[in-house]
Amino acid sequence: MTKTVPARPAGSPATGLTRRRFLETTAAASVLGAVSPSILAPGAAHAQASGEVLSGCHWGAFQATVEDGRWTAVRGWDQDAYPSHQLQGVLDSVYSPTRIKYPMVRRAYLENGPGSDVESRGMDDFVRVTWDEALDLVAAEFKRMGETYGPTGVYAGSYGWKSPGKLHNCQSLLRRMLNVSGVGYVNSSGDYSTGASQIIMPHVMGTLEVYEQQTAWPVLVESTDTLVFWGADPMVTNQIGWVIPDHGGFEGMQAFKDTGKPVIFIDPVRTESHDFFGEQAEWIAPRPQSDVAMMLGIAHTLYTEDLHDQQFLDEYTFGFDRFLPYLTGESDGTPKDADWAAEISGIDAETIRGLARRFADGTTMLASGWSLQRQHLGEQRHWMLVTLASMLGQIGLPGGGFGLSYHYSNGGSPSADGPVLPGITDGGKAVEGAAWLTASGAASIPLARLVDMLENPGAEFDFNGKRDTYPDVHMTYWVGGNPMAHHQDRNRMVAAWRKFETVVVQDFQWTATARHADIVLPATTSYERNDVEQYGDYSLKAVVAMKKVVEPLYEARNDMDIFAELADRMGAKEAFTEGKSEMEWLEEFYSSAEDQAQALGNPIPDFDGFWEEGYLEFPVSEAGRNYVRYADFREDPLLEPLGTPTGLIEIYSVNIEKMGYDDCPPHPTWMEPLERLGMPNAEYPLHVATSHPRSRLHSQLCGTALRETYAVAGREPCLIHPDDAGARGIADGDVVRVFNGRGQMLAGAVLTDAIMPGVIRVNEGGWFDPVDPETVGSLCKYGDVNTLSPDLGTSKLAQGNCGHTVLADVEKFTGDLPEVTVFNTPANG
């Protein structure tokens, strides 16, 4: 029905003037007031804080300069000799136009409810709603999920590099809210970094290994003759930490460099770390994914030339005798000698034999990155590395053995005797008595099996000796992560994602995942709230007050407050907050540190004193400086056994043998992965290295000005050898299309001989930006390399991701160049 619009107000249409004069009438002011919101209010705002604030983040501790409430500059903390250049991007992220400002709901969802028009996610309009409207929608959806689908309707295995801080841990807070409110949910286990290694290593070494302190750098400087980085680029990756990094790894590497001793890099790329060590560095570039074969070739040489340490193997390991027939070929007719390894790896046999002799001649530290195990059959890589180190017999000796965390969070940075801060819990205890709900959720999946779960509800899957069933989930709530970046096989994922009737994303910026959500809630950055955190993931050298730098922008709220509101709607606010304010929680965590310090006989200042000072340092101990991993075990393997079934290093695992997995035999074994450069009948000619980027933390900070320092033609860079480029008519700076049977993406070509022929590199974490979000398989305009990677488990054992198992081809892009739209760029950019 059309309402009749009355004739124009009094006055002659011919003059216009009179009509115009309407602007000065009270009637005009009245209607203008009705169509315009209130913008200004009387009374001046108080001047806001000015000065320097010490705080911390994944990139380090920093001093923020604040002027009248605005954050104007950032520099590394005085105590950090190696601050990351990425701190500039941190400031940029806070003041980026890509911040999520207000609660938003996807339009079709708002109009027609859950499950509406899910194909249009990523393209549909978003509409602003009030906080109350948004939270009511979410709470109603939790209720509906429970009523309709039972306790496994909600997937809350939300994963990602959430901001550090003991209180504002959004992922713990999410699960706390669900637990105390009695909302059933599906949880996840593991992570994308070390999916394979963290499952195989407990079978082999009795510990996670990947997240543990390494033999300290000063010991390496003193005692290591040859340092080997196998698939690691520590100068790049040690910039970041899971808590607040101390950057002690840089100090260690500098000290090692000063000794002039050799450092060998086994890597398809001549990395920044290689270049850091200058003439001491040596680059060996085997075909990607051939590492187990190369290690076997070295092991075979050690054995046949009697360079192995039989005494160590006898005393400290289990099952070498069962592995040996495989190594020699007695069991399968194929000796795993250097010539055999050369055929697979592309490294000539003499070099392989030479490595064996060099490793055995003196003290050798085999430091491996995690890229090796983020590959199909990735469990075998570190298992074989441990086997190799066992044959060298230097595990537990100063400067020898192996290490799986020298590249991560500054492993090897000497430890202090500082207290350990507790943090917010997921509130699991509060639901004791609800028989179907355990503290960790009603069900759980290995997290990289997310898409398998969505595609196959009810199907069975294997995981580390257990058989389980994929739950039937219909809603997800994602905090502190960007699965549209970190998960593999993007196109399969985009299709599977449509199974969710409701997707809630709580973040501070419009990530690809937020763009593919239904309800988007603006969270504060960790610089807009108060928290406490440890400084030095392994060294625990200090506790830092992560003080609020600036007030929250727009309508952003702390995760804690958002979840408290949701808990309130479900009648559980008191259980969620325990009646404590932000500062009361921090004080409580700190009091635990006070108790520990008291027990150690080194009392620390009270909370107010600490907060005022901003940090509390603990001196590195003599024991920390001289720490040798597995020295105790080596000293007395009977009194200090490993946590394995035999108490020894398990080169052969009876437990794994019992599982009977065809893709994870009971000792380290060379098997052809899904696809590999140089394998027979490979479908595509190039391997794609998907390494960690230098100027991002996975996908974090991709939306900042840092991107301008590395983007090529506005796209993610693609390193390519001049021979491979020449054969395809590709010049430096060209936009190229990288493609395989799973997907396609654009990138900017960088021609360099720092990458081996046959391999190209596109760093992981580029933001997904499809030309047409409604069409699965659409070209990614920016360069999300997970459009190309396969989504399958490393094996039935660990079910980790295979983000480094990628073959593809590349061509010069000659079509109409689509504009990158995923970022907001400067006006003139």
Partner: protein, 228 residues
């Protein structure tokens, strides 16, 4: 529906230089309101009312505003009352893409800092300057408007006050330093990215009106390109 001469395309009859201070202030307040927030069903209904139409008629007689006034009128009058909620959502979706970050690169962030800082950050020097300006004028942002101090709507609201209370020189300086160095680019970005045409028309009206208004101010104050 009865047509309106101005809104139907009859040439506007009033030049910006002929406007009174009160009229200019009303124009800036109208523009501020368009960019401050999404249109609501209620605001669209008001534009459809007799008073709303009178307001658009009057604005439509001012040369640079005619297309925008016509666009607003068209968007509210071409549909039935029942379709107003849907129309509000159309415009809210466009608003979010353009001004709330949803649209990524194809957007027009409504902050001076974005256009005048090298990295495209918000909360740079212009925000500080606006904070000072507000404090000096004994004003602050309304509680219901949790935005940045150099948001376009804030700048236009302050300008509306200046037009009514401050000497011409001060108005000219504000136009030069706070608006004219970026609203042209802003309008171009709106034109490139606004699928509805509503905000593209509003931004063009803003840019053209502000330029004409500046030109009509005494020439004794040379145009400065000062930033910060």
């Amino acid at each position: 529906m009865a047509g309106s001469a101005a809104l139907a395309g009859t040439p506007p009859v009033v030049a910006v230089s002929e406007l009174s201070a009160g009229e200019r202030a009303m124009v800036y307040r109208w523009l501020a309101g368009l960019f401050a927030r999404e249109q609501t069903v209620e605001s669209l209904r008001r534009y459809r009312s007799a008073e709303g139409r009178a307001l658009l008629d009057a604005l439509g007689e001012i040369a640079p505003l005619a297309p925008a006034a016509a666009t607003v009128w068209q968007r509210v009058s071409e549909i039935s009352e029942d379709d107003l909620p849907k129309r509000a959502l159309d415009l809210a979706g466009a608003y979010a893409r353009l001004f709330l970050g949803v649209g990524g690169r194809r957007s027009a962030p409504p902050y001076q800092s974005f256009y005048t800082s090298p990295a495209g950050r918000v909360m740079q020097a212009p925000a500080a300057a606006m904070q000072g300006e507000l404090r000096q004028r004994n004003r602050r942002l309304a509680d219901a408007f949790p935005e940045l101090p150099d948001h376009l709507a804030v700048q236009l609201s302050v300008l509306a006050e200046l037009v009514e209370t401050a000497p011409a020189a001060e108005q000219a300086a504000f136009l030069d330093t706070r608006l004219l160095d970026w609203i042209g680019t802003f309008a171009a970005r709106c034109a490139a990215a606004d699928g509805t045409g509503f905000y593209a028309a509003a931004a063009r009206a803003l840019a053209e009106f502000a330029s004409a208004d500046r030109a009509a101010l005494p020439a004794a104050f040379p145009v400065r390109r000062a930033r910060g």
